[in-house]
């Protein structure tokens, strides 16, 4: 699971108001290079939840992203490369996503998070 996917996931247990972002417990992380696409990344800046991404990347061992979403991102190639790496090249293989409100763990196995809810959580 990459962080672009994580940026969209939240805890959907009935009654939970603050299920985003999910905290990450990382047991196994791998890196896989993919082609750098600056135009695509420029478009992503406005769409992603920046703080959630920074925190998630840190959980996967990558702390190069600035805390605050930079204003003039489009021009800064080195920043785009960092965004590229954090969003698309880090893979959480084993671990868990944890609801910030309830502590409920959604296990991640072989890169696949299991977001299925139990009957009493729906």
């Amino acid at each position: 699971m990459r962080l672009i996917t994580h940026n969209m996931l939240s805890c959907n247990i009935k009654g939970v108001a603050n299920g985003f972002p999910l905290k990450i417990e990382a047991e196994s992380v791998i890196e896989k290079e993919v082609d750098f696409n600056p135009d695509f990344l420029r478009h992503m800046f406005a769409k992603i939840e920046w703080k959630a991404l920074v925190e998630a990347a840190r959980s996967l061992g990558y702390s190069e992203l600035p805390e605050d979403s930079p204003a003039a991102a489009a021009e800064d190639e080195s920043l785009l490369k960092k965004l590229h790496h954090a969003l698309l090249e880090l893979h959480l293989e084993e671990g868990a996503l944890v609801c910030p409100e309830t502590g409920r763990r959604f296990p991640v196995t072989r890169g696949i998070p299991n977001m299925l809810l139990h009957e009493d959580e729906v």
Partner: protein
């Protein structure tokens, strides 16, 4: 990539080893899958360099097709772990990256609805769990920012159009083409060796929020 090449590559994918009839697990054949994604990109520019989500991805046929057509990022969602594991193998085999999430997509509220550009899907038709096709469509229309491509039985055409425009926030709902879906005898209760169902390939555009 040419259509024939895409169709050829998709024909090599592994499919359901143990299909579950309750989930309406039928493979999306390479003929339909290749035409669906090829049209989405060539006629509408909805795949290359876009974030594409595949709802009910099964063994990842549509996801793989999107990747081969150079989507910037592809994410497949399905309820069945065994299918997702097959999808993982398929992605490795064709050397494409596909993120996979195990979930009930009709209950998963995805945040950041601007991140996903296009949803592609071959959803259940609602023959086992009534209304499943509508639930999938509703979920897709909440997530996609540019377009939703989906397959539904031709017999439900008017019903789908009405629901999409009236209830699911569609700016437009068009049948791009009618296809024949060849269903081979997968389950014991199937009497005929294979059966041909008329399905519509739909393109829906969500209204901007």
């Amino acid at each position: 990539m040419k259509l024939k090449q895409l169709e050829g590559l998709l024909g090599d994918l592994q499919q359901f080893s143990n299909p579950n009839v309750e989930l309406e697990q039928y493979p999306t054949g390479p003929h339909i899958a290749s035409r669906m994604l090829f049209t989405a990109e060539n006629s509408y520019g909805d795949i290359t360099d876009k974030v594409v989500a595949d709802f009910g991805c099964g063994c990842g046929t549509l996801s793989t097709a999107a990747s081969l057509l150079d989507a910037a990022c592809v994410i497949g969602y399905d309820i069945d772990l065994q299918s997702l594991e097959t999808a993982t193998l398929n992605a490795e085999e064709l050397e494409v990256e596909i993120d996979l999430v195990q979930c009930d997509i009709t209950k998963l509220e995805l945040k950041g609805h601007q991140i996903v550009d296009t949803v592609v899907m071959n959803p259940p038709f609602g023959t086992r769990k009534k209304g499943a096709d509508m639930e999938f469509l509703s979920a897709a229309m909440k997530v996609a920012s540019q377009a939703v491509y989906s397959l539904h039985k031709t017999s439900t055409r008017e019903h789908i159009k009405r629901a999409a425009l009236r209830d699911f926030n569609a700016k437009s709902a068009e049948v791009i083409c009618e296809l024949r879906y060849d269903l081979p005898k997968l389950y014991k209760f199937h009497k005929r060796k294979e059966v041909d169902i008329a399905v519509d390939l739909w393109r829906f555009e969500p209204r901007q929020n």
